[in-house]
Symmetry: C2
Subunit: 430 residues, 2 copies
Amino acid sequence: MDNMKSVKELTRIMKADSFKMASLSADVRNKILARVKEVLIANASKIFEANAMDMDKAASDGIAQSVMKRLKFDEHKLEDVTKGIDQLISLPDPIGKTIFKRQLDTGLILERVSCPIGVIGIIFEARPDALVQISSLCIKSGNCAVLKGGKETTNTNKVLFELIYGAAVECGAPEGCMIQVTAHNEIDELLECNKSVDLIIPRGSNQFVQYIMNNTKIPVMGHADGICHTYIDKDADIEKACNIILDAKTQYTAACNATETLLVDRSLDKEALKKIAKNLEEKGHVKLRGTKEVNDIVSVELMNEDEFNTEYLDLVISIKLVDGVDEAISHINTYGSHHTDAIITENAKTAEKFMELVDSAGVYQNCSTRFADGFRYGFGAEVGISTSKIHARGPVGLEGLTTYKYKLRGSGQIVGDYASGKANFNFKDL
Amino acid sequence: MDNMKSVKELTRIMKADSFKMASLSADVRNKILARVKEVLIANASKIFEANAMDMDKAASDGIAQSVMKRLKFDEHKLEDVTKGIDQLISLPDPIGKTIFKRQLDTGLILERVSCPIGVIGIIFEARPDALVQISSLCIKSGNCAVLKGGKETTNTNKVLFELIYGAAVECGAPEGCMIQVTAHNEIDELLECNKSVDLIIPRGSNQFVQYIMNNTKIPVMGHADGICHTYIDKDADIEKACNIILDAKTQYTAACNATETLLVDRSLDKEALKKIAKNLEEKGHVKLRGTKEVNDIVSVELMNEDEFNTEYLDLVISIKLVDGVDEAISHINTYGSHHTDAIITENAKTAEKFMELVDSAGVYQNCSTRFADGFRYGFGAEVGISTSKIHARGPVGLEGLTTYKYKLRGSGQIVGDYASGKANFNFKDL
C-alpha cells in the first residue's frame, strides 16, 4: 500500500464508497476500460522496464525457467491483455439486468435486478497479466477490488496498478475503489475485514487456499485442489483417447485442470491400454503409477488406493482399472476435487450417465480437461475457478462477480390486508 | 435419529447416495410430493394427536400464547401445507434446465445445466408446517436433507418426518435421502460434516445463527438479524406512510422482516411526523424510541446513535431524522442488516436512488417490509431468507437449492491445438 492507512481502514472507506462504484453507468465503466487500454499502451516501456527489474531479481534468485515465463510481461502479453480488454468492453453489461419481473398484485411489482457484489479481495499468483485481467473484470462488473499479487512481480504490479487505478479515477470511479496490498502480513489483515469485504478469491497452491478458507469469516470462492480425471470407457475411440489424455496430462502440468488420474474400463482390450501408456511415456515423458492390476499389463510404479487423491502438478499420472462407468463415477466422486472430469466414449448413453452423476463443476465427453478455463468457455476472462457448489461454479467470469437485489414497487400495500383476506395475491410474470 | 449410526456416518452414506436422489426424474419427484400430500391427509388424526402431546407439554411448560400458535398443527395448517405441496408440484422443474448452450468450436459444445446442490442441512424453529415445507422443497429440487426442528414439536415432527420419508422411499427415492436429527448435540456433529454436507441453512435467533456461522466450514445460507428500515421521504403520501409503517412494525413483530427503525426526512412537515407517531402509538401500541431531535417534536424514550443496530422483535421502534434520501441510504447501509428496507415517497427519482444505493436483499417503494417472504414473492415456499450476497439473496425458494454444472461435449479436441494456433475458437451461442 502506498499510504499509512491500515487495510481495515482502507476497506472500510472502500465499502462506504462501493455504492458509488456500483452506480457508475455501463458507459462510464466501458470508458474506464478503454482508457486503461490506452494508458497501458502509452506506458508500455515503463511497464517493460519494471518487469525487467522483476525478471533480473527472479533470475538472480534462481527461479525456475517455467515460472520465469509466467512473470514476464512483454509486447506479446500486453497485446493479449489489451485484446482481453476489448473483449470485455464488447460484452453485455452484467449489471442492472432485470432477471425477472412479476406482478404480485395489481400495482405491486417485484423485480430481480443484477448488481455488483461490492468489495472483492483477490489474492493471486505472480502473473502481471492476471492483475490486468482481474481489475478489468472488477471494473466491468462495478466492484471495488483489493488486489494482492505474487511478490515476484512487485515492480511490474506497482506500475500496472497505478496506471489502471489512475485511469479509473480519471474517468469517474470513486477514489479508493481499488487498492493494492503488497506485504504478506496484510493478507491476514484482509481476512479479518469481514465487515467490509464481501468475497475473497484466492488463487494459488492447495495449501495456501486451504489456509485462506480456514482463516476468514468472509465467503471464499475458488478451489484448493484440482484432482481431475479422465476415464476411458470400453466404447472409447482409442486414437482420441491417446491424444486427449496426452494433452490433458502434459499440455500444462502446473494447471489445476490437468488430469491427475487415468481410469480405464477393465473390459477394455489390454492392447489399447498398452498403446495409451506407451503414448504417455514416449510422447509425454510421463511417469506412470498404478495399481498391481495395471502393473500386470504395463509396467508402472506401484501405488496404494489411498494415494488416488494426489495432485501431482507434474509429469506423473495415477492409473486404475474400474468396472465400467459406475465404478468410474464413484471413484471420481470419492477421490476427486469436483473440478473437471472427462469420459472418453463413443456411447452417448454411457456419456450421459457419467455427465449426470459425476459431481463436478465440469463434466466432459471426448475432450481434454484442460478446456476448463474462462477464456476457453468464452467468458472473456476469469477471476478463478470455483469448486464450491454455492454461488458460482467452474470458471468464474463477470457473472460470478454479481449478485442481485429484489426491488418491490407498491402503492401503499400492507401485509395485514393479505393476511386477513381483505386482499389477495394475483401473481403474474411480466 | 432412529438408529445407532452417527450423524457423520449417516451423512456420509447420504452423500454417496445423493447422486441417485439427484437423478430422479421430475416425474418421480412430483409423484413423491403427491404421495406426501396423500399420506398427510390420510394420517391427519395421527398427526393431530402427536401435536396435542406437544401442545400439552408446551402449556405445562408455560410457553407464551404467541409461541403456542406456531407450535400448533391443526386442520387449518394441514390445508395450508397441502396447498403448498400442490403449488410446488405445479412449478416448473428447477433441475436439468439448460441455462445456456454455446459452441466453442465446431463439434465442441458447452452447456450449463442446473442440478441439485446435494446434501443440505436445515435447522429450523419449532413449527411443524416448516418441516413439511422444507422437506417438500428439497424433494422437488432433488436434494437430500438433514432436518433438525425445534424441540418443542418433537412428537409432531417425528410423525410428519416418518410419513414424508416413507412416501419418498415408497415412490423411488433412495433410502437415507432424508434424516431427522433430534438431539441438540447432534447439531455440533452436523457442523463437522463438511465432507458430506454441502450447505447449512439455519433459522432462528441472531445468536443461534451467528453460532452456526462461526462454527462450521460448511457454507451457511441465511440471516443472523433483520434490522429493516422504513424511510419516510419529504415527498411521501402521509396516509400511505401511516398505514405502511404500522403494518411493517406491528403485523408480526417477531418476524425478521418487521421494520425496526423509522427514518424520517428532516424537511418533512412536523405535523406529519406527529400523525405517524400517534398512529403507531394508538393503533399499534408501539413504544417509540428516538433521538433528542425527535423528542423535540413527539415524546419518545431517548436513545443513543449506537443503539440503531437494535433488532427489537417487539412493539418498539427506533426513530431518527435524516437529511433526505442520501443520509437515509448511508444510515441503512451502516446500521442495517442488508435484509429489506423501504422508502415511502411519491417521487420516482428519489425512489430510484434509494433502491439503487441501499445495499439490501430487498429494496421497496411504498409498501411494507413484511412482504419479504418466499410465498409472497410467488416462490411457492421458502427455506429461509438470505442476507448473504453470495449464492441466493432474499427469500430462497427452489432456485436457491440448485447449482449448475458445465457439460462439454467434444469429438477429440485437445487444448494443445488451440494453444499452438492449429485450431481456433469459434464461439457461437446456440
